[in-house]
């Protein structure tokens, strides 16, 4: 009898605990299911719907949108999206690794301020950063004018509205996201290992490449992920500084969704982009599950101002 009572008591406590867990979890769980998980799946479904002439989605089913996306017309854009994103990632790593290394070598007292210096440009609005580059790269802007006047650049070279501008501006917006995780890894790196390698006869570069780089591996993986994925999905930067030859997949999605108002085709393109993005994510996550945590930390500290 007594044992039965304690059992029901324990059960009631367990149920109560479950109930309060459900109540606490429900708001965000339901919200994100409704406005994140369902829409993400919906994209794949709508890719097979027919377009409504008024710009909506019709009830019929068709393969036309998916076929038109797989046509050759998009292969060029797809290829450009991939190579530009890879180039941006490579440049961000090439710049981010030395900067992270350098900051990690400084006196701990100043490191915080140096990182702040890296992050402050992120406090300016994303579009305003792009606009600032348009001002800077403008044909009549002081940068081109002075470079032309100094004879460094021929008069017929323009900085704006080409793929180079897309790469430069994307690197600009992504670089702090690359520096932070690399720094976080470099800060934990034991620099005496480099001296040991030097004592054992390794050249400076060899020690850097064979000891330091593997030592901050996790930071490099994280940096790659936080740069590559937004770059693959970029829309505003190619739209504003890329010109006609700088279009990426994101631009095609936006064009189909707004100018042409063909939502099923936009959905098919978006589904395509989602699949492309899933590849590096899976690759990295399978390789190292703990990267998840560092991605969160990196996005948290870089993605905004307030850490």
């Amino acid at each position: 009898m007594n044992g039965f009572q304690t059992q029901t008591g324990a059960r009631a406590a367990y149920n109560g605990r479950k109930l309060s867990e459900y109540l606490l979890t429900a708001p965000s769980f339901l919200w994100l299911t409704l406005f994140f998980a369902i829409p993400s799946v919906l994209v794949f479904a709508i890719a097979f719907r027919t377009a409504d002439p008024s710009g909506g989605i019709d009830a019929g089913w068709t393969l036309a949108s998916v076929e038109s996306v797989l046509k050759n017309a998009y292969l060029g854009v797809l290829w450009r999206t991939v190579w530009v994103s890879c180039a941006v990632t490579a440049i961000c790593l090439a710049l981010g690794i030395p900067v992270g290394y350098w900051i990690a070598l400084q006196n701990p007292k100043y490191r915080y301020w140096l990182l702040l210096v890296v992050i402050i440009p992120l406090w300016t609005n994303f579009l305003i950063r792009i606009f600032a580059w348009r001002v800077l790269l403008h044909p009549d802007g002081f940068l081109r004018q002075s470079l032309v006047a100094l004879g460094i650049v021929p008069d017929d070279v323009f900085f704006l509205n080409n793929i180079g501008a897309v790469i430069v501006v994307t690197v600009y917006t992504c670089l702090p996201f690359a520096i932070l995780p690399i720094y976080a890894a470099a800060e934990k790196f034991d620099f005496s290992l480099l001296e040991a390698a030097r004592d054992l006869g390794a050249s400076r570069f060899c020690a850097f490449r064979r000891i330091f780089l593997p030592g901050i591996r996790r930071g490099i993986f994280t940096a790659t992920l936080v740069v590559l994925i937004p770059a693959l999905g970029s829309y505003a930067i190619p739209d504003l500084v890329g010109g006609v030859d700088g279009e990426m997949l994101g631009n095609k999605i936006a064009a189909k969704a707004s100018a042409y108002r063909n939502l099923p085709e936009a959905a098919a393109l978006a589904a395509f982009l989602s699949i492309i993005i899933t590849l590096p994510v899976l690759l990295f996550l399978l390789k190292q599950k703990r990267i998840i945590r560092s991605v969160v930390a990196a996005r948290r500290s870089a993605g905004d101002s307030t850490k």
Binding site: E21, S28, V117, H138, I229, A266, I277, S305
Partner: protein
């Protein structure tokens, strides 16, 4: 060490690279010349023109209204989520919950924008302020959750039991312990939501409708339709605004990188 000098040079180059556009922009906003290039003297005329532009004022009001609404709701949702994730760490439900909160962080804005647009269109919801606010709450929740979660993980829950043993009521525990200890983390999350909402262009561009033009969307349309020089001034004002919020956020949380 030569590697050290190489890295110093790269670091200096990167700093110059990061600040050159911003400095140019600020200088340009005070330049009397319309197209920049040459310095035509100091002028505040773009700022005057800016404050007379009612469309800009309107967009500012929209931006702040959306940011406030998104901040309030995402802070509530995010704080509950963080509490659940921390308290019921071992439950299966929470590992699904964790994945659900984590995933929006890696999805690019374009995909989030288009998928929400498709949801709203297929649910026949009129695009406007409401849809923008819903979208902003959605991408802010994850950031708030992880900020608050980081605080909670450092929090010693034994303090609560100790307070209870010493006879403190629920209200006193809340006012004297939870609020002062967790408040800064929640405030930091809220600040982050506010800045993210003010900063967003891509998602707003997809799910916005007539009447929900925010400052970034306004800046975008100004850039697209022949850049008038007031964008320079607008950018500087906007920058000052975000800086203020960011600095307040910085003070709210003393947590370092």
């Amino acid at each position: 060490m030569r590697t050290r000098y190489t890295s110093l040079i790269v670091a200096l180059f990167v700093m110059a690279f990061m600040y050159l556009p911003i400095v140019t922009l600020i200088a340009q906003s005070f330049n009397a010349s319309r197209y920049g290039g040459r310095w035509m003297g100091f002028s505040l005329k773009w700022y005057e023109a800016l404050f007379r532009d009612s469309a800009v004022i309107n967009a500012t009001v929209n931006t702040l209204a959306i940011a406030c609404a998104a901040t309030i709701f995402s802070t509530i949702l995010g704080t509950c989520a963080a509490w659940a994730l921390n308290k019921y760490r071992r439950s299966k439900l929470q590992s699904v919950h964790y994945a659900l909160v984590y995933a929006p962080l890696i999805v690019p804005d374009v995909l989030m924008g288009i998928s929400l647009l498709l949801l709203f269109v297929s649910m026949k919801v009129q695009l406007g302020m409401l849809t923008v606010i819903i979208a902003h709450i959605t991408f802010c929740v994850s950031f708030v959750t992880f900020t608050v979660l980081a605080r909670l993980q450092d929090f010693d829950f034994n303090i609560l039991n100790a307070a209870q043993d010493l006879g403190a009521g629920n209200f006193r525990i809340f006012a004297k312990i939870l609020l002062p200890l967790l408040g800064p983390g929640i405030a930091a999350g809220a600040m982050m939501a506010f800045t993210l909402s003010m900063d967003d262009f891509v998602v707003t561009f997809f799910v916005g409708g007539p009447g929900s033009t925010t400052l970034p969307v306004k800046v975008y349309s100004m850039m697209k339709h022949g850049a008038p020089a007031i964008i320079n001034a607008l950018s500087v004002v906007f920058m000052a605004l975000t800086f203020t919020v960011a600095i307040i956020g910085q003070f709210c949380t003393k947590r370092k990188f």
